[in-house]
């Protein structure tokens, strides 16, 4: 038997406002503060389409090789749940915004194309918060009406590993396209996994189990592995696999029945009468196509072409907001290699440490560009950067100002360096004599002495130059 796996991925679109009203979509707000009559389902309230959500869905579709349908239609998907204010979800049944398409993943011995069935738009539900202590359930509707795209694959995946690879690649692409923020911990990228088994080579698919609502790549891998194992065991015992909806328990690493086929909802889909068909004309599709930044591969090539190491390019592509930050920085400080190392060495670790999104870094790209310039000019040494970066990052201040305040600016003044060099030469006649007799390595010791005198604030290159002059001067006797 071989596993047959299909995915339904829900990604929250990166829009400022909800799909059918103008409430903000930020996570983390106090419960029921980002709501209005539309997203709470008050009597008589009507939806109005967020055009930005449409664009983002079309953009994802174009990047995934889908056909963008000029005319698509919203339907009502009816079911009762306390976090569903209208008693129906507004989703797209037929036609959806995008059809077809696919994404390649690497498999042993080559490349596999995972075909997409469709991408459609829909609104998210709110959240139920269970207060176990008081035995109550509370409803938070902040998330209700948040725009999602659902990306449905064909059953083209055949292992947990492939499923995870596909998801990681899709996630990176959607984040890169700025279609979604993709914060897994916020549930902004989650998926349902359909798993069935069929005899190797057979065309007909077996009965499937659908594992709902997984929001970590690891869980997807574990859930698929468990489900394949469970179904295999059933086949081996000659017991039927039942069509059912499953829940994955991340602690016990196993799937459990949520609903059987008999308990499945009849969603009673029908065209949503409050929204006219959505029209995305060919000229709009072309305009959206022009906004595509190129593929991840193309961007990676572009970055390495700029002189970045592979790891640096990968870092910029994987960390959300990093590429944008990099581009803003290099617009002001046009040395991509140095800008990338500053980010790799200082900025990105600092963000990680403070648990901040790159875009939320208190040190703006302008600040980092300024830091690069100061290093370039030799006004600031790398050690000094190391010493002050924590404070610079947290305060977002001007780096030169901060370095001056902390006495970290390098002494580059020729006269001052030369005076220190002369003093060191005078104080170490033996070493100077050795140098003159050809032991050039001793120069390192002399530089060290000058650096010590300056308490590390001297520009090392300038010090070497000044010492050469001082040592080369004819003896005064």
């Amino acid at each position: 038997m071989e596993p047959v796996i299909g995915l339904e991925i829900h990604a929250q679109l990166k829009t400022r406002t909800k799909l059918f009203c103008s409430c903000p979509t930020e996570p983390g707000a106090e419960p029921n503060t980002l709501i209005c009559e539309v997203c709470t389902g008050q009597p008589g309230a009507l939806p109005r389409m967020n055009g930005r959500a449409l664009e983002l869905a079309a953009k994802a579709g174009l990047a995934l090789g889908c056909r963008v349908n000029n005319r698509s239609l919203f339907s009502r998907k009816n079911y009762f749940y306390p976090d569903l204010p209208n008693g129906f979800q507004t989703s797209q049944l037929d036609p959806p915004i995008c059809s077809g398409g696919g994404l390649d993943i690497e498999v042993p011995g080559g490349v596999k194309t995972v075909r997409l069935n469709r991408i459609h738009l829909e609104d998210d539900a709110g959240k139920c918060v269970h207060d176990e202590r008081r035995g109550r359930t509370l409803v938070d509707l902040n998330r209700a009406g948040t725009p999602l795209v659902e990306i449905v694959t064909e059953p083209d995946l055949s292992s947990a590993g492939e499923a995870v690879d596909f998801l990681k690649k899709l996630h990176a692409l959607l984040v890169f396209l700025e279609v979604t923020e993709g914060r897994l911990e916020e549930g902004e990228f989650r998926c349902d996994v359909n798993v069935s088994l069929k005899p190797v080579g057979a065309r007909e698919l077996g009965v499937r189990g659908e594992i709902k609502n997984l929001n970590s790549f690891r869980h997807v891998g574990k859930a698929v592995e468990y489900e394949v194992m469970r179904q295999t065991a059933l086949y081996e015992k000659n017991e039927p696999v039942l069509q059912e909806t499953l829940h994955f328990d991340p602690v016990r690493l196993e799937t459990r029945t949520l609903r059987t086929k008999e308990e499945a909802h009849d969603y009673r889909y029908f065209p949503q009468p409050d929204l006219p068909p959505v029209w995305v004309g060919p000229e709009i599709v072309e305009a959206i196509r022009l906004t595509l930044p190129g593929t991840v591969e193309e961007t990676r090539d572009r970055l390495t072409g700029l002189g970045l190491r592979d790891e640096q390019a990968a870092l910029l592509l994987d960390r959300r907001g990093a590429l944008e930050y990099f581009e803003k920085t290099t617009a002001l400080f046009p040395d991509p290699g140095k800008a990338a190392s500053l980010m790799e060495e200082f900025l990105l670790p600092a963000c990680l440490k403070e648990d901040l999104a790159v875009a939320d870094s208190p040190l703006a790209p302008e600040g980092l560009a300024r830091l690069g310039e100061l290093l370039d000019k030799g006004v600031l040494g790398r050690r000094a950067v190391q010493e002050m970066f924590g404070e610079l990052f947290a305060s977002g201040r001007d780096p030169e100002e901060l370095a001056r305040e902390k006495n970290l600016l390098l002494v580059t003044d020729r006269g001052a360096l030369s005076a220190m060099a002369v003093e060191v030469v005078a104080a170490h006649p033996e070493e100077v004599a050795k140098y003159r007799s050809g032991q050039e390595k001793i120069m390192g010791f002399l530089v060290g002495q000058v650096m010590r005198k300056s308490r590390g604030a001297a520009d090392p290159k300038g010090v070497a130059r000044a010492l050469l002059e001082a040592v080369g001067r004819p003896e005064e006797n």
Binding site: E37, T40, G41, Q42, P43, G44, A45, L46, P47, R48, M49, R76, N78, F80, P82, P85, N86, G87, F88, V139, D266, R268, Y269, F270, P273, D274, L275, P276
Partner: protein, 486 residues
Amino acid sequence: MSELFRLTLAEAAAGLAAKKFTSVELTASSLARIKATEPRVGACLAVLEERAMGEAAAADKSGPDPARPLRGLPVTVKDVFCLKGAPTTAGSRILENYRPVFEATVVARLREAGAVVVAKTNCDEFAMGSSTEFSAFKTTRNPRDLSRVPGGSSGGAAASVVSLQAAAALGTDTGGSIRQPAALCGCLGLKPTYGRVSRYGIVAYGSSFDQAGPLARSSADLGLILSAVAGPDGLDSTASDHPLDDYANAVPADLKKLTLGLPEELWSADFDGGVARRLDEARKLLTGAGVRLRPVSLPNLRFSVAVYYILAAAEASTNLARYDGVRYGYRAGGDPELLSLYRNSRTQAMGEEVRRRIMLGTFVLSSGYYDAYFRKAAQVRRLIAEDYRRALEGCDFLLAPVSSIPAWPFGAFAADPLTVYQLDMMTLPLNIVGAPGLALPAGLTPGGLPVGLQLMGRHFDELGLLSAAGAMERVLPSPGDPPALG
């Protein structure tokens, strides 16, 4: 000056402009009339006395303003319109304690034009019904004969206009709910083209049918209200940006140049004797005035009752899913288990007719039945629209009766919902096609009950309807004032 409530909207506006009286006097007169007539008529679910008097005083203070043509004029609105801070029940127990936090666009526009909302009028629960008997709260009586229904679902609106509580009322028409009560009570009512008026903030019944419109005692007053509320709305994606006309200044049409099509299928219905006689006379009066009448056919009309009760019920079944006892409205006590909470809240606080239509709508959308019912009905809907377009070729408007029977005694059809559904046959076609229609009185039966006619127009030709009605109301017999109610 003591009977200001008798004035039409246009007359009252002129009087206010000429400073013959104030809005406070006019509004007080309207409120006094409500107080006097309500014990018998029962048109209103909420009388907004304090608020109305405050607004009237403010209107007097602000003085004339060309941008506010309804300044200081009392009107009533059906209880399906959200009015911020005022009870909005849609005639249902499940919304008994509901106070909206926002305002229906049409109500906001009426108020911006200066109108003073004096009361919210009674209706069938969630506008589902033809007699207002399905209101969960009270009985509204026909001002012409208190033993009879006012029609519905905007029965309170029609009764408020005919009993002179206000010169004009705002109602809604999903399957005839403006035109039928207007005809049964003896006033005028206009159902605009679907999309002419915003639906935002109107408690939804059948979303692809619902349309708000005015009821009044003259066509000029219908135009005044329509011009205040019509037009596109960023909050309603189905509201149209089709160009508006100057509805407030419709010029009466030249009847000699008017050709009206008479849909055979509607005129051949089984009429009550008194109604038939009135309709014959009305046709004679019109031809006498020079109107050309010609028979037309709407062959698929026989399906309209089925189409309507499938599609509207389907939409209603999901529109009403939000009344679940979770966020607002009635919540059943007792069993806290979720399914019981839903079941008990909805069963206890929704009336039988509403539950019947929810069941019907749920059924026709169910897996395995969708194609046979919902899809088929949607297809037939398009056929009826095509019939309608063809029937209008060579005609300015279609002319049809509104109801085959006059206002009926309370309880007459209590055991027979299907017969009442069949009675809607005359009014349903317009909602199915989304076209505009205007009901106007054609006199009284020998028993003193009003009979109505309706004009049906092309999409967005409300101006044409108002012009034709403006000429026809001079020719057709007026029903006159109702008997003393006070």
